[in-house]
């Protein structure tokens, strides 16, 4: 009886709302092997444009309307998508900077990373391709 109750309680903790993970990825040949969240914010919000070694970073984002973008930016910056877009409209329409280039879907993001050693992208599923390295995993906040 006790064993059944323990199994039942364990099952309850496993069933429930799951938190998404977001994987920031580069080509495996990129010399950077990890990234802090501050570094990631700097690159995705255009405060910096280079990796730690000084190489140019080409940052890519999933297309507007993609279901995972809201969760990604909330995890990365704590901002809602409207706040992120307001931030970008300030920078873009004053000529300061531009948001990351958008790609259609996760497959396009991985393809860009595999073809370009300077690409930095994010995907909502853990990549299994050995040509791609994960620098940072972001967890969706509760």
């Amino acid at each position: 009886m006790r064993r059944a109750l323990t199994c039942f309680l364990a099952a309850c903790t496993m069933v429930g709302p799951t938190r998404a993970d977001y994987y920031l990825v580069v080509q495996a040949s990129n010399t950077q092997t990890s990234m802090t969240q501050k570094e990631a914010v700097d690159l995705f919000m255009s405060r910096r444009h280079v990796f730690r070694n000084g190489d140019a970073a080409l940052v890519f984002d999933l297309a507007r309307g993609h279901s995972e973008r809201e969760g990604f930016y909330k995890s990365l910056t704590g901002l809602s998508l409207a706040q992120v877009n307001s931030y970008w409209s300030r920078l873009m329409f004053s000529g300061e900077s531009r948001p990351p280039q958008e790609l259609a879907d996760e497959a396009a993001m991985l393809d860009m990373v595999k073809r370009n050693p300077n690409a930095l992208a994010w995907v909502p599923h853990e990549p299994t391709d050995k040509q791609v390295r994960t620098l940072l995993v972001l967890k969706e906040p509760n």
């Binding site: 444009h49 190489d55 080409l58 809201e70 992120v84 307001s86 409209s89 329409f93 000529g95 370009n116």
Partner: protein, 404 residues
């Protein structure tokens, strides 16, 4: 791609835009005009759709990782004297030789104050329009060159920008262009990851404007000042000084702070302009807001005060013993004309603001705002008032802002 810069695969052409559809209703007295900025066409008040409505389109062309070209046009309510070239609000080439340095050449936004360089973009700020006491007489663009140095450490981004160029502003009321040439601007900003932005700006510029129409008045004031009768001579020299701005230097100093993190947002900005085209003045604005999900409520105040006397001259008694009654009456008439002309450069008013913003999508927002303005006698420059009467006015506004 053969010949492509390592790590840069393709050249990049990007189109984007922004817009606002807006309705305003003002109950200001007859003979006054509510407008968002003084380059707009004068109007008869009431309910209007042209005060805040505008549409902007921008193209960015990234030729390489170091070179980018940007062009932007904005269609909005403009006075008859505005040249067509004023639709072009950005047109510059940017060179970024490293992550820390940027050089731009061409037409750029005037980065004087907190909101100056994106005033057209309603989606970028919480309220309907930037405070008119602060922003209504500011040129939108400057033609020239700027150099920016940025550095980042411990989550703080510092930027130092120097600009040399010229800009122009034409009020619809006067139809006369006021050009700031050359203009030298220095901007220092600090922005951190906790949502705090601090910005300080210094501008020094030489004013150029056509004073041909004012020459007879200035000549008359010179003759009255030459009589040496106090306080008439001082008044005459003051009016002449306000009106004869051509060739004079102006200096602006502005300091601003903005905070936006979590549910709270706040802004505060103060400005002092010495020997501006409107006479020396000080202005300030502040705003506090709170977010409840997609809805933001805000309230704020803004004010401007020009350092000019708002008391009409009374020269007859002092001048009659010197030039006789008829001469004194003529001088009094000229003094009133000069006072009225100088008063048109006088802005002394305060506005209380209450509003809300609803982000019903991640690229569009609806705003509702109520403004209550009190304008002192002979302080109605921003309302293009010719009467000198004090103004109490309510303005209700509704806008739909979007980006694409």
């Amino acid at each position: 791609m053969a010949g492509a810069e390592p790590g840069f695969e393709v050249s990049d052409l990007h189109f984007s835009g922004f817009g606002t559809f807006g309705l305003t209703h003002s109950n200001a007295p007859a003979g006054t005009n509510f407008h968002r900025d003084m380059s707009e066409r004068l109007n008869q008040g009431g309910t209007r759709a042209d005060t805040d409505t505008r549409l902007g389109a921008q193209v960015n062309y990234k030729a390489s990782s170091q070179f980018e070209f940007v062009g932007q046009v904005v269609g909005a309510n403009r006075g008859a004297a505005q040249p067509p070239s004023d639709f072009l609000t950005l047109a510059f080439a940017a060179w970024r030789p490293s992550d820390d340095w940027t050089v731009r050449l061409g037409r750029m936004s005037t980065d004087y104050f907190l909101l100056a360089d994106y005033r057209h973009v309603g989606f970028a700020y919480p309220f309907v329009r930037p405070p008119i006491e602060y922003y209504s007489s500011l040129p939108y663009a400057a033609d020239g060159i700027d150099l920016t140095r940025a550095w980042r450490s411990d989550g703080i981004t510092w930027r130092l920008r120097g600009v040399v160029g010229h800009s122009r502003f034409i009020t619809d009321q006067s139809g006369t262009a006021v050009t700031l040439r050359p203009g030298y601007t220095l901007v220092l900003s600090r922005e951190d990851d906790d949502g705090l932005l601090l910005k300080a700006t210094v501008v020094r510029a030489r004013v150029h404007t056509d004073l041909a129409a004012a020459q007879p008045l200035l000549k008359g004031l010179g003759q009255i000042a030459g009589l040496g009768v106090q306080p008439v001579a001082d008044d005459a020299r003051t009016y002449a000084g306000v009106l004869s701005v051509d060739g004079q230097y102006i200096n602006y100093f502005s300091a601003g702070a903005g905070y936006d993190r979590g549910p709270w947002l706040a802004s505060l900005e103060v400005n002092r302009a010495a020997r501006s085209t409107a006479g020396s003045y000080g202005s300030a604005w502040g705003l506090v807001g709170h977010r409840w999900g997609a809805v933001t409520g805000y309230t704020g105040m803004s004010a401007i005060r020009t350092d000019q006397s708002r008391t009409p001259p009374d020269w007859r008694a002092a001048l009659t013993p010197v030039v006789g009654a008829a001469g004194a009456a003529q001088a009094q008439q000229l003094g009133m004309i000069a006072f009225s002309a100088a008063s048109q450069t006088n802005a002394t008013q305060r506005t209380f603001t209450l509003g809300m913003r609803w982000d019903f999508s991640d690229r569009a927002a609806v705003k509702l705002q109520w403004d209550r303005s009190r304008v002192d006698a002979y302080g109605g420059r921003i309302w293009s008032s010719m009467t000198g009467e004090p103004i109490h006015a309510n303005v209700e506004s509704a806008t739909l802002d979007f980006v694409f």
